[in-house]
Symmetry: C2
Subunit: 523 residues, 2 copies
Amino acid sequence: MNLTGQMLIGGQSVSGTREALHAINPATGQPLQPGYAGGDQAHVEQAGALAWAAFDAYRETTPALRAQLLETIAGEIEALGDALIERAMLETGLPQARLQGERARTCGQLRMFARTVLAGEWLDVRVDQAQPARQPLPRADLRQRQIPLGPVAVFGASNFPLAFSVAGGDTASALAAGCPVIVKAHSAHPGSSELVGQAIVRALQQCGLPAGIFALLFGSGREVGQALVNDARIKAVGFTGSRAGGLALCQTAQQRAEPIPVYAEMSSTNPVFLLPAALQARAASLAQGFVGSLTQGAGQFCTNPGLVVAVQGLALEQFVATAAELLQHSAAQTMLTPGIWAAYQDGVDSLSRHASPVASGVLPTGPNQCQAQLLRVTAAEYLANPALQAEVFGAAALIVQCRDEAERLQLAEALEGQLTATLQLDDDDIALARSLLPVLERKAGRILVNGWPTGVEVCDAMVHGGPFPATSDVRATSVGTAAIQRFLRPVCYQDLPDALLPTALRHGNPLALRRLVNGVREG
Amino acid sequence: MNLTGQMLIGGQSVSGTREALHAINPATGQPLQPGYAGGDQAHVEQAGALAWAAFDAYRETTPALRAQLLETIAGEIEALGDALIERAMLETGLPQARLQGERARTCGQLRMFARTVLAGEWLDVRVDQAQPARQPLPRADLRQRQIPLGPVAVFGASNFPLAFSVAGGDTASALAAGCPVIVKAHSAHPGSSELVGQAIVRALQQCGLPAGIFALLFGSGREVGQALVNDARIKAVGFTGSRAGGLALCQTAQQRAEPIPVYAEMSSTNPVFLLPAALQARAASLAQGFVGSLTQGAGQFCTNPGLVVAVQGLALEQFVATAAELLQHSAAQTMLTPGIWAAYQDGVDSLSRHASPVASGVLPTGPNQCQAQLLRVTAAEYLANPALQAEVFGAAALIVQCRDEAERLQLAEALEGQLTATLQLDDDDIALARSLLPVLERKAGRILVNGWPTGVEVCDAMVHGGPFPATSDVRATSVGTAAIQRFLRPVCYQDLPDALLPTALRHGNPLALRRLVNGVREG
């Protein structure tokens, strides 16, 4: 393990000029070495210039070379071995098995995007051939492909130090699209960030690609992040974090001379609807599944089930009683950072002002530990207090008790945008579910039946996204192969001679792409 | 021809409450009857409520029914016959043949989107089947489709009273996506708008669809437009018009409690690069093609070639001399509105402050006539005066003379975002073109060789879009089948029983869609 406490710009370790930030071991509250001196505007300028200089060459690399880069990064991350896992454990308080799983997910994600690049559907090649004899006017030869937007700024998330961080989903999909990436590391895990950054630098070297394709910057305040989003050479932003943080980046991006897309994944309470037949048949097992999902990883997931919606009655009371019993025995778990722990306390306090306590988890025994909390309100109270809609990041949930199905539907309509919405149902609930579905489709990016929202599969069909404020762009997903589309734009080529056409659009179709030609999809 | 001077809300003619606006016959300067009283916030509220109420039903219509609607609208527009063409001629000053062609384009576009809806690729169905035995964790059944965003506000353009107006590309693609549409008619052609609006109302009736799927509002100030974009039920905006108008809508949309996408197509000077071998070989014919494209329709096209970039020398002087000669004989043509005419005068005045006159067209003989203008500057002057980058809407163009190819490349890099960029080249220019192409790809949505940018084919491969300020969203096109994607978002369904799945996602694939299943594209 070779931590320098430096940033990575142009393949070189570069010392920051601002005050050093130190990761805090949340299990002890103690700072970790080395310190990471923050960058300044000159570092952003340097990284931006290198990314820009590398962009035209990188975006025309062959699919094979780009896939090789993604696979080499995965291999280099694996080659970091236990050192990465050990450092990430120290910086995040997350257990070893979780971080090993997250590393597998991160590397699997890089390899998935390698396959996506090779498959070539992201190029969305469309060809309308010339019709010189068409009346009243001839048709030109028109060909469309997707090209990358340009250098992308990625802001690492605190809660996935590998899978949503330096080489996480945003970086992997941007590199797959052909965009250089400048990562602003999350201050909670700078050492893990540096190790993974070094892995990317090595992979670029091995693939013979310009070092400017990647940079890793540190900074504890807003200076680096704001400078990055304001840099004219940055053409898109990926962010996972708080609503306030995401909105600040959106505002900066909109106020630029050239506004740019921001993909901010921000906040979601992930409502779970317990339908009557299911609740009647299996209140206790539902409670068990719910508490398991709620308390997993101290509830530090974007898709944590923070809201349970049910109609009042004995079955609900049985669910509540079982959930309360289980929660009371739920051990306190170390949270990611002192800041997240403090925000969790504030969030629970805010819920408590409007909702009644149901149960609390085991009392914390060390610093920064999350004591799980379950509260309840009536639907009328929930509807009357918009503050109750705010996400509390951690193992806290609110049970909302509706008078009847009409009030449940009203509540569903009043929800803000969500990453997920879940239906717990039995056969007799199907008709009711059918009436809720149209509302949930308008509210969420992913709809689950008889599952729990934590656990986000990395695959073609996944949507990790949703209406505002779940994300800043409802048209996008930040997980799964469709995430590559966030960093692409279409360009049309009219009557270009074959010698000037990009390879993907040449008449002989040298990349063997499945094109749309004169309105017909090639087999 | 049955013009009521009323708006269309819920299939009914509704009188406005604000001051009546009158179209002006630009050829005479005289107002046309009837007056169209403007709507107010209550009308927006009413149209918004109806659109919202119709949304869930409309978005689940079968592809067949939605295609039928689009085809019926086309048929109803054609059934308006000469009345529509005659009214549009009065309101716009455009000649009969042009408007007949535009009507054909409009109806062809509606029918193209009908075919697109039926083909079903827009649904982008992705299926990842359950793997219950997978280790370490089972995989759920995950299915993704695209659903429409919600009701869309469409702002008609002045320069295409049919093809970019009430039933134009924005409306057609939004209806194809499954979005209700509320059109704010352009004040320049309210009569044509009402006629087309009535055609849409009739089509909805014939298809047995809710009247709330479409509304047509009038208003001379910003009240109706701003209220529309601020309405919480509106989920996207389509706009074609000025940079100032587009930016105002973007700002409003961003400041909503729930920000929404705005697709504003705003401004472009459409640079044409005359490469040396082509210029040497055919300066006179290039000048002829250029002046033809520049003066067509009084230059009132978004893709009008307003900028010619060449390296200094005898060949350029020959081009300039021929273009000047042709332009001097170019007849003055009536512009669309007095406002557009006045803006053209201002734009030419502004260019004249920094550029030297080359030639002017024939002097106007009537009101609101556009006198074509050709001016020239050196590249150094162009680079020093950002005001010269502003689009002048009409038949005015600027020739920029570069010292050498290095300066031309520098100028290309300094350009703002464009809808189009054109290369005039011969075989000996290919190497030079190859060096310019990467820059132009970053600057424009469409790149042409040896053509002229006016004339936008409606097809799969077209991109009518480009980097800011050409449009507000570089990821989109407003012409061609890909325009449907602007109004869609992905939703993932996890472990839904077949009875709850949308038809497109059912296990038996009843719509016979070409899905992506477990990473493999179905044949």
